[in-house]
Every structure is written in structure tokens, then in C-alpha cells.
Symmetry: C2
Subunit: 156 residues, 2 copies
């Protein structure tokens, strides 16, 4: 009994000495593609490549119209400017044909993820998470701190 009790205590102490992760990285939620011609891009994925796609969804608060392309394990998000101050207009001005705009990775605790990335010198583009296109809190990380890639973290 003493031996078993000692083992129990050791296990308890062992597990306590391992700090619990404050947040965990999850799966790739989507890849966003900005396009100057939403219907043509949607047709490429639906009619030529044979993927399932969603109906166009106007998101005035985000300045985009989106169509999701379902690839089974993840999604492409086709983005087209909506309104006069669309956040992707500048990107399309530089990339006339469109192009890969950002990737979105899920995290289970966005506040703790933000604290940790900031502590490691990765700039967040907003001080607080915003509510993203899926009605979940999101934050974008500065592309210059992420190998030139605009990375969105989304609370899963």
C-alpha cells in the first residue's frame, strides 16, 4: 500500500510539473484567394475542377463577398471586394489577376495564443480579436513576422 501511495504521489507531482499548454494550434481552416472575377473563379473550381462550392455570401461588415470551395479536408475561400473600402482592394491593385491572400489556422484559445505570439515578437494586426466571417474571434499576424505570409488565427 505504501508503495502504491508513493507511486500515486509521484504521478501527481510529475503531472503537476508539466505546465499545461495555454493554447493549442489546430487545423488549417481555409486558404483565402482574392479574385477580380468571382464568377469565373467559382466556375473554375465548380465546373472545371468539379469541387463543391457554396453560394456567394456578401459580408458588408468585412468588405467582401465570399464563396467557399470544399476540398474535403479544408476549404478555399474566394474573396471579392464589396463596397468602397474593401480590405482586399489594395491587394488586387497590386495583383491584377488575383492571388493567394492569407491562410487561416485554428487555435483553441485565441487570447492565450495572442499573448504567446506577441511575447515571441510576432506582431498582431489588432490589439484585440475581431469577429471574423464565421462569427468567431479572429486575429491576423503581421506578414513580415510570418515568412511573408498573412496568417489568420481563428478561435475553433
Amino acid at each position: 500500500m505504501i508503495c502504491a501511495h508513493a507511486m500515486f504521489l509521484r504521478r501527481s507531482f510529475t503531472s503537476k510539473t508539466v505546465p499545461e499548454a495555454l493554447w493549442k494550434l489546430g487545423r488549417l481552416n481555409h486558404i483565402a484567394i482574392a479574385t477580380p472575377d468571382l464568377a469565373k473563379s467559382a466556375s473554375l473550381y465548380k465546373n472545371i475542377l468539379g469541387a463543391d462550392i457554396s453560394e456567394p455570401q456578401p459580408l458588408p461588415d468585412h468588405g467582401v463577398t465570399t464563396i467557399f470551395v470544399n476540398l474535403g479536408n479544408t476549404k478555399l475561400e474566394l474573396l471579392h471586394p464589396l463596397g468602397e473600402k474593401s480590405p482586399i482592394q489594395g491587394f488586387l491593385d497590386k495583383n491584377k489577376s488575383g492571388g493567394l491572400h492569407h491562410i487561416c489556422i485554428e487555435v483553441d484559445n485565441i487570447q492565450n495564443a495572442m499573448k504567446e505570439v506577441k511575447a515571441n515578437g510576432i506582431r498582431c494586426l489588432t490589439e484585440e480579436p475581431k469577429i471574423g466571417a464565421h462569427n468567431k474571434p479572429v486575429v491576423f499576424l503581421h506578414p513580415k513576422d510570418c515568412a511573408g505570409v498573412l496568417v489568420e488565427l481563428e478561435q475553433s
Copy 2:
């Protein structure tokens, strides 16, 4: 018995009248990110974001060194130039910090996929598939025909 036989026949005819697809689009295999600093980019995903990553793999035939970042449902492929004629050097010359380079989607029959995309006016960058980094046949589609995105199709 007659009824069951009739149902069997109907099912047979029904399935025969549906033409079999000559190829099918599969899952997103990976997103490729070109980076001027492979160690720093790998550290971002491993040490700051906490993802599992592979060892660096030099691929002299492809002019790149790669590191794969496992995101559970798909992978990021970090690419760094190897040798003097690396196919990603031009991209890095234009994008000094690095950036999203291409996406790779699986297909179950690359020859039939190529025939169909060509018939729909999508240019392939090579006449025949090449053997890609995973030792499987791959072909790249012209970015100008794919909403500005370099799309790789890989035989699954």
C-alpha cells in the same frame, strides 16, 4: 422473386446510364510557402505556433530544400532555394520576405485531369506530368487561368 429481379435489373441499368467520371478532385495536399530564411520560418511554426515539423529535406532535382509543417488536416511546405537555378528564386526576388507560392490539390487520375482542364482552356505548364517532390506525377496549371494562383495537381 420476379420483383427482386426487376429491381436488380433497374439498379444495373441506372448505374450504367450514369457516365463514370474520368477523374476526381481530391483533398488539399499542401500549401507551399517560399521563404528566404528556412530556419526562422521553421522556428515560427515549431517553436512559436507549436506545430510538428519535418527535418529539412534537400531536393537537388527540384532546386529546393523543404520542411513540412503538419497541421493535422493538411500540411504547409516551406520552400527555400537550393542550387543556382532554383524555380523559386524569381519569386523571392519579387517577394523579399517570402510568401504563399502555390497550392497542391490531389487528383486520382492526372492524365485525365490534364485532358479536361486543357479542353476548358486552362494551360498546363508542362506537356506531360513531372515526378514531384513526393515521387508522384504532378503538373502545374497556369496562374493566369486560375485566379492568379499557381495550382499544382498531384496524382494521389
